[in-house]
């Protein structure tokens, strides 16, 4: 499992958590992913992914920050772990490396 790398949606969710920095919980993450990817995402999908990433050790979470809008319930706030950061960077590296190898782009310079 560990070397499996990140799925595309997982990557988006991880990035959203990074962007939101301490404010990342289900709905926020959903909105963030929707905003950048331009597609609509189901809340459940976000939750499932968040928990899966947490199980993989790429995210940690704690409860906090209740608001009236939520009927006074707390949110579960997610943070990225160092391992999560590493995987994100690794994914980014792979892409960069592969992009640089596409012939058309190189010759266009």
């Amino acid at each position: 499992m560990k070397n499996k790398g990140l799925g595309e949606f997982e990557e988006l969710v991880l990035l959203a958590v990074c962007i939101l920095k301490g404010e990342a919980y289900g709905i926020n993450v959903k909105k963030e992913v929707e905003k950048h990817s331009g597609r609509s995402v189901l809340l459940g999908a976000v939750h499932i992914t968040l928990y899966r990433l947490q199980d993989k050790g790429l995210l940690t979470s704690e409860m906090g920050g209740n608001t009236e809008k939520r009927g006074d319930r707390r949110k579960r706030l997610f943070e990225i772990t160092t391992e999560g950061m590493k995987q994100l960077e690794a994914a980014q590296d792979v892409r960069q490396k592969m992009w640089s190898l596409i012939p058309q782009l190189n010759s266009g310079q």
Partner: protein, 907 residues
């Protein structure tokens, strides 16, 4: 709980989420759901928000369900406590528990078994890859009433279809060959001989339409050349001891007694039992090329079944219309050359229509009712069984609901106490629903065990190969079981759960509640329903038994006892006189005669007419007999005489039965000396020398058809020399009193025949047994119906017993007070029972007309019907009343004889 502003999100979704998802997630999820709901309310419509709430909730459910039903805050403890309470209640009321489980298990077992049976019957030929494109071509039964359809057609039908219709990808024929004698000799061993009953000829492209599983050989070439033979796995093992049979040869006896050698080109896996085509051997049609060349233009050699594979997307209705142009174009040569009649004369206004029947409809199809190549199902029986299955399941569910609701009323106090101690209503509901779901689940599991072990028995009786095990790995089957358990559990637990948990604790504990009286009329209605069904079943099964007995006692017009029939005589060639002489030498044999068919299986027939001018053509069954046969089976003559061995001219004379002369418009006296001829242009006239009283030569399910008896030596009728022949031996009753006598007789007969030709299999039958066997289906159905009736009655009684017990408990005090005030035990018993007896009486009133209607429908299928007598209805009513009295009687006596002191002192 929720923010006050706006519309509330769906409660049911919340309930599901809170019950099915782990608690650790709930706060967050509900928060998120609520927040996004508010957002949506603000920006979109209420309905949208509401729908999306459901979508999100369900999505979360799918993602996070731990599938632990009824989870609560400290769920293991709670679950344990629910179990304990359920267990204690079950133990405290052992009687109810046992009754409940028993009724439920019986009901589910029976309906499950029936379900398997019905599923089996309605899914024939579903294994064929091209099942949606395969059709059989049917035509009217030109040999009898043209209104009936026949599954067999002449050889020219396929040829015509190939030439005329472009929409068929394949057209293929299969030819029934009847019994074939075969032998196989391996090197250095004695030849093995067999009689093959399921040997057919098929065309090269047969396997393009019917893609059976091949173990060996190539489907494309297996039937490509003459003398190719395809065998099934079991057959290969029977001959060769192995399935490795390619290239081995099997000899088949030809009509002239010579042996033709076939070479095995393919071995098939045994055919699925759910196939309407069944065979052990399939030879290439070209093996019979000589006969095919000679007859292939004919439309009256109706021994073929023609199948077509239609092109994808073809319009079947349009195709069927197109087919109707074929017979007028291709059949006239047949009618003209063979019958000397024009097409119009031959059909006499009946349309010679060709019909396309989907292959998956063949087995249960009502018309045509015959299939020359395999089993035919009985749609009526399947429907009756399906109805019984549903009804019995319904009965046991009703029982369960009835008993559960009655029982729960006893727990009113428990509910009160629990409420006082702080139980939420939800907890109580959960407890009740949990208990009844648990009950249903246990009942279902027990039923699975019962069905699994009882299926063997059912398979023997119904002659099927049903099995439960493969179903247990089918998700859809398991889902249905789960839905059933939850459905029945929630339904039967739900009513008492919500009703009871709504009690005000103070009222309950004070005893101000009229316990369980609510819903009494509902329960009574259910009891009436149960008994109506049971009494109906009793009446029906009594009539089935009566009809079966009746059919076996009607006077057949011949003496069917003590007649031993020896088969395969045709295999000995034309001159069978030595056999006759040898057999008549046996001490136990008093008379012996030869015939070319044996009742009740005389099936052949032809078209005849009287030789008078303008006489109509008649379809007569025909039976060839020797001079002695009619005396052997003890048929009596109305007029004239039997064939006489002293008069050689009798060879071309005939005897008719009563029905035949009636149809000819003659009477017994003036029939003698008139003549009759085969209506096929062949002008040979046969003089009638006798008229026999009608006797049943077919099953008593049908009436007696017109019959012509031909002399065994009559070589001017086409079927001379063809067909099967038999010797029938009249046994001296005194000589065959014990089964040992019989065994000796049969061994002696076998020795005689084997002494003449070792290679011919010895087969025999008794005529009375064969008449009985013709009712085997009905008898089997009768046996199963009896069993189901018994079970339905048991279920209904369990229900009544349970209710009586419950009512007894409820009314103990009332009856005790009555007793104190002077009522006698007998009066109390009567008072207590009357209520129940009234219910059964009402059921009788409802069920009698219903049963009368059903029995009438069933009896219509028989030629000889047992009269519908009032006595049977009275008997059924009496039986059910007695059972009801017996069931409630114990309870009422028990209650009525209680000492009032014991029951009244506690208050």
């Amino acid at each position: 709980m929720f923010s006050k502003k706006g519309h509330k999100p769906p409660r049911l979704a919340d309930w599901l989420v809170s019950n099915l998802i782990g608690d650790e997630y709930l706060e967050e999820f509900f928060g998120d759901l609520q927040e996004i709901y508010e957002d949506r309310l603000a920006s979109k419509s209420r309905a949208y928000a509401w729908c999306m709430y459901w979508v999100d909730a369900l999505h979360l459910l799918f993602g996070f369900t731990s599938f632990k039903l009824f989870k609560t805050q400290n769920n293991t403890i709670m679950l344990k406590s629910m179990f304990i309470i359920a267990w204690r209640n079950a133990i405290r009321q052992k009687q109810f528990t046992v009754l409940n489980l028993l009724g439920l298990t019986i009901g589910i077992s029976i309906s499950l078994t029936i379900g398997l049976y019905v599923y089996n019957e309605s899914n024939f030929d579903e294994f064929l890859t091209e099942k949606d494109r395969i059709y059989r071509v049917n035509q009217p039964d030109i040999w009898n009433e043209w209104t009936e359809m026949s599954s067999t057609t002449g050889p020219n039908v396929a040829t015509a279809l190939r030439a005329e219709i472009a929409e068929f990808e394949e057209v293929t024929r299969i030819l029934v060959m009847g019994n074939q004698f075969t032998r196989y000799s391996a090197e250095s061993t004695k030849a093995k001989t067999f009689k093959e009953l399921r040997f057919h000829l098929a065309e090269e492209n047969f396997f393009k339409v019917f893609d059976y599983e091949f173990l060996q050989g190539n489907p494309a070439t297996a039937l490509a050349a003459p003398m190719n033979l395809v065998v099934t796995e079991t057959t290969a093992k029977r001959y060769f001891g192995t399935t490795d049979a390619l290239g081995k040869s099997i000899e088949v006896k030809d009509w002239d007694g010579s042996w033709k050698t076939y070479v095995v080109t393919a071995v098939l896996a045994d055919l699925p039992s759910q196939s309407h085509l069944q065979f052990d051997m399939l030879a290439s049609l070209t093996s019979n090329q000589e006969q095919m060349d000679y007859h292939s233009w004919k439309w009256i050699w109706t021994a073929f079944s023609t199948y077509v594979l239609v092109n994808e997307g073809a319009d079947i209705d349009a195709l069927t219309d197109k087919l109707q142009t074929i017979p007028p174009k291709y059949a006239p040569p047949t009618t003209e050359r063979i019958f000397n009649q024009s097409y119009e004369e031959f059909t006499a206004g009946n349309p010679w229509k060709l019909e396309l029947q989907p292959v998956t409809d063949i087995y249960l199809g009502v018309s045509p009712s015959q299939n020359a190549f395999g089993p035919v199902g009985n749609a009526q029986v399947v429907q009756i069984f399906a109805a019984i299955g549903v009804v019995i399941l319904l009965l046991s569910c009703i029982n369960f609901i009835n008993l559960s609701t009655a029982r729960s009323a006893n727990r009113a106090k428990e509910v009160g106490v629990r409420k006082v101690l702080g139980s939420q209503r939800g907890t109580l509901v959960r407890q009740f629903v949990f208990e009844s779901v648990l009950f249903v689940a246990i009942g279902t599991l027990l039923a699975l065990v019962v069905v699994n072990s009882a299926l063997n028995w059912f398979n023997i009786v119904a002659e099927r190969e049903l099995s439960l095990i493969p179903w247990l790995s089918q998700p859809s089957f398991l889902l249905i079981l789960l839905l059933f358990v939850l459905g029945l559990g929630i339904l039967s637990g739900g009513y008492p759960a919500f009703y009871l948990s709504s009690f005000k604790p103070i009222a309950v504990i004070k005893g101000q509640l009229s316990k369980g009286n609510k819903g009494k009329s509902f329960r009574n209605a259910l009891v009436v329903f149960q008994f109506t069904i049971s009494i109906c079943l009793i009446i029906c099964s009594l009539f089935v038994q009566k009809q079966l007995r009746y059919a076996s006692t009607i006077d057949l017009g011949l003496t069917e006892e003590n007649l031993l029939q020896i088969h395969n005589i045709e295999q000995f060639g034309f001159n069978s006189e030595p056999i006759k002489t040898a057999l008549s030498g046996l001490a136990a044999v008093s008379e012996i005669g030869k015939s070319f068919g044996i009742p009740p299986n005389v099936g052949s027939g032809d078209r005849y007419r009287s030789t008078e001018p303008n006489a109509p053509v008649l379809q007569l069954s025909n039976l060839r007999v020797d001079e002695d046969y009619l005396d052997v089976i003890d048929v009596s003559f109305l007029s004239g005489r039997n064939f006489d061995i002293e008069r050689p001219a009798d060879k071309y004379r005939v005897i008719l039965n009563e029905e035949a002369i009636k149809l000819l418009g003659w009477n017994a006296e003036d029939a003698i000396g008139r003549s009759i001829a085969v209506a096929s242009g062949n002008e040979d006239e046969f003089k009638v020398i006798g008229v026999v009283k009608d006797f049943n030569f077919q099953s008593t399910k049908t009436g007696i058809l017109p019959l012509i008896l031909l002399h065994h030596g009559n070589d001017r009728v086409w079927d001379y020399g063809a067909g099967l022949s038999y010797y029938t031996l009249r046994l001296k009753p005194s000589a065959v009193q014990t089964s040992d006598n019989l065994r000796v007789l049969i061994n002696d007969s076998e020795a005689i025949l084997k002494g003449i030709d070792q290679s011919i299999p010895f087969e025999f039958s008794f005529m009375d047994q064969q008449f009985e066997d013709s009712f085997r289906n009905e008898q089997r159905m009768g046996a199963v119906l009896n069993f189901f009736t018994l079970m339905a009655m048991v279920i209904a009684c369990l229900g009544l017993f349970g209710l009586a017990a419950y009512s007894a408990e409820q009314r103990t005090k009332e009856l005790s007070i009555r007793k104190v005030l002077g009522a006698k035990t007998s009066q109390l018993t009567l008072l207590f029972s009357t209520g129940f007896i009234k219910l059964v009486g009402l059921s009788i009133l409802v069920s009698v007309p219903l049963a009368y209607w059903l029995v009438n429908i069933w009896l219509e299928g028989f030629a000889y019907r047992t009269p519908i007598q009032v006595g049977v209805f009275a008997l059924a009513a009496l039986i059910s009343l007695l059972i009801a009295i017996f069931t409630t009687g114990y309870q009422s006596l028990y209650v009525a004889s209680k000492n009032p002191v014991d029951t009244l002192k506690s208050e």
